[in-house]
Symmetry: C2
Subunit: 427 residues, 2 copies
Amino acid sequence: MNATTVDPGTLNRGNADVRLARAALTRLMEPSDLAGLALISVAGPVDALALIRSGAESSAVLEQEMTAVLAETGAGRWPGLADALGRWRPRLADLAPERDLAVVERYGGGLLIPEDPAWPPALADLQLAEPIALWMRGRVLHLPEQRRCIALVGSRDSTSYGANATGEMAAALVQRGYTVVSGGAYGIDASAHRGALAAARQDPSYWGSVPQGRTGAGSGAGGVAQPPTLAVMAGGVDRFYPSGNEELLRTVTEQGAIVAEVPPGTNPTRYRFLQRNRLIAALCEVTVVVEARWRSGALNTAHHAAGLSRSVGAVPGSVYSANSAGCHRLLREGAAVCVTDAADIAELAGEAGSNLVPEQRGAPALHDGLGVEDLLLLDALPLHSATSVDKLSVVAGLGTASVLAGLGRLELLGLARRLDTGWKRGG
Amino acid sequence: MNATTVDPGTLNRGNADVRLARAALTRLMEPSDLAGLALISVAGPVDALALIRSGAESSAVLEQEMTAVLAETGAGRWPGLADALGRWRPRLADLAPERDLAVVERYGGGLLIPEDPAWPPALADLQLAEPIALWMRGRVLHLPEQRRCIALVGSRDSTSYGANATGEMAAALVQRGYTVVSGGAYGIDASAHRGALAAARQDPSYWGSVPQGRTGAGSGAGGVAQPPTLAVMAGGVDRFYPSGNEELLRTVTEQGAIVAEVPPGTNPTRYRFLQRNRLIAALCEVTVVVEARWRSGALNTAHHAAGLSRSVGAVPGSVYSANSAGCHRLLREGAAVCVTDAADIAELAGEAGSNLVPEQRGAPALHDGLGVEDLLLLDALPLHSATSVDKLSVVAGLGTASVLAGLGRLELLGLARRLDTGWKRGG
């Protein structure tokens, strides 16, 4: 573990039996195994694990309570507890939660559980699909407040346009005090982590003092620094996957953290990637898709975010780029807001004052505030030679009195000039 | 006038005195002169002109009725009829409506008035700001139905990206039987007209038979061909403005038409450009902004369209292009729908069946329809060496019965293969 670690461990303290049971359950049950989560909800993690370990074929009382919990989520019919036990028990042989905890602690990490004060309240929005626990390793072992986390996600086969846009947005978001969350994959994910890390490197105060707005609320300890970036993984945190991102992910753990709901040694699978996406969406205030093809896993993250009533942004691109087609699809379907820079994203995250940003762009033209009559008159004023009030009246289609009053106003604004021979355009 | 003209003139027939009066009024009153339009509304065009020509200082009866008409539009207080007469009368000296009509007829054009059967009903949505009349010249002297007209508008200083996208969309829209409407300016407007003309040139049947969906309803004559493009001008139709577009606008009149609410000889002014934009918006089912800076007249057209409850589209582009900033602004503010090609635009225009377009893009992955258990099982199946049902049960986290049933389903789909030694990925 790094010597300058800010957050020396809020994990692995207290609740030893609950932590051990949850560690075990993350191995027995796949992410979002609703029957499993219903069992934990009604029996508690320790008794749920004991039931699976016992030879019991089922339990009528538990099954009834689980059915009620599942019905609340609208899950509909389920095959029953006996079926579920048959699903979990084949994995009992591989179970060694103490070893798993030891592995992660050796990396300076640990297991964050819902019973910890640092458990992110944002995850409760997942309702029954709230993860059993989160395996973490890194410089910080808490998760920043949801309102300070922005997900930047996208395709693995990014273009240089997407990579540039992602990197610049990530860096600017970190400079604004946000944590950039992504999935550690190639392409857009990697650009997001890299941009965030680069911004933190360039800020000498980043890990020294704790600037305002960068205080993580997660640990409850106060004054804990906000990590520049988090990678939420589909496989175990003991390995850096994909291997081509090993160096990058190592740096992410040195400066931020990596997180997974599956235990060490777990391979990422398609199913786990899809479930991992719901965690990214739940942990973040805003999910931004920078580049995505018409069908892309990044769209799945965006749909999760929308389902959780989180804000979704999409970065536009060329209509000729297949890598932007998914973003345009989100925009077209009204599933995402168009964002072009970190300021747009901060506005989506509800940053105070930034609602004014659009109005400030571009210098207003002097004639923007003119009334219709003054605009007609300005159009009628010749640029070079002077003209008479009568002529202006004909050209502008205004009465003489209106022309005289309007010339006075335009002269004040420097838009009309009075010469001996008449009037011309000012400026 | 071109020898193959399809629509030999629905204009300039009947209503001679009304036509002459409206021709005169378009010179006395600027576009959207609400007091003038209120006067025409209550007195009729012939008496309105007679009043302006008379020496009368005002008319208490007319002023009262005009006030009522203006109040209906929410126009609020107005300076009164005497003031308005003072505005119109300076232009009486230049009045020669017979000459104006003769000029336009010499070009094979004429004046379309609300009393003509060919007057576009779409313009009624402008309420009191409906134009006094429309000066036209071209191959067709009617306006196509609103539902078959698409406006493509944008900045004068377009990029090659914007020019390409505009040209391709315009051509594809004409191929679908739409008329592309724009403002005849440099940049995006010119690309829109050019793309539309190119598509018409490539279609040998374009001006021969009348394909379905290309029948203009405007003239009421039936079987009138749909022009590929229309230019709505801010100045008179007797001149091709800007001069750099002279050749292009000449071709537009040969293949389509140019239209203006101001009489021959009128210069375009800033005010008239802004008013011209409301006509483009009113005549079209959809207004698409292809490229626009943060502040751009094209946004004004879009806002007019939205105000008329017409659909608005915006074409996305690079976040680094200042020429797309206005489009992104419209998207961000929810004022436009993201459109990337003619199919998207046709869908906005309500084209039948095109709602299905998005679902057809991109080949669906074979595993898209799989349930969660089959997806878990597919992820667990090794690609190369075969594995046992028990091993699959552990890896997938599924009971043995679920594994066996799932393997059966995956085998049917060709996704699993049974070997002597066990099971592996199929395909």
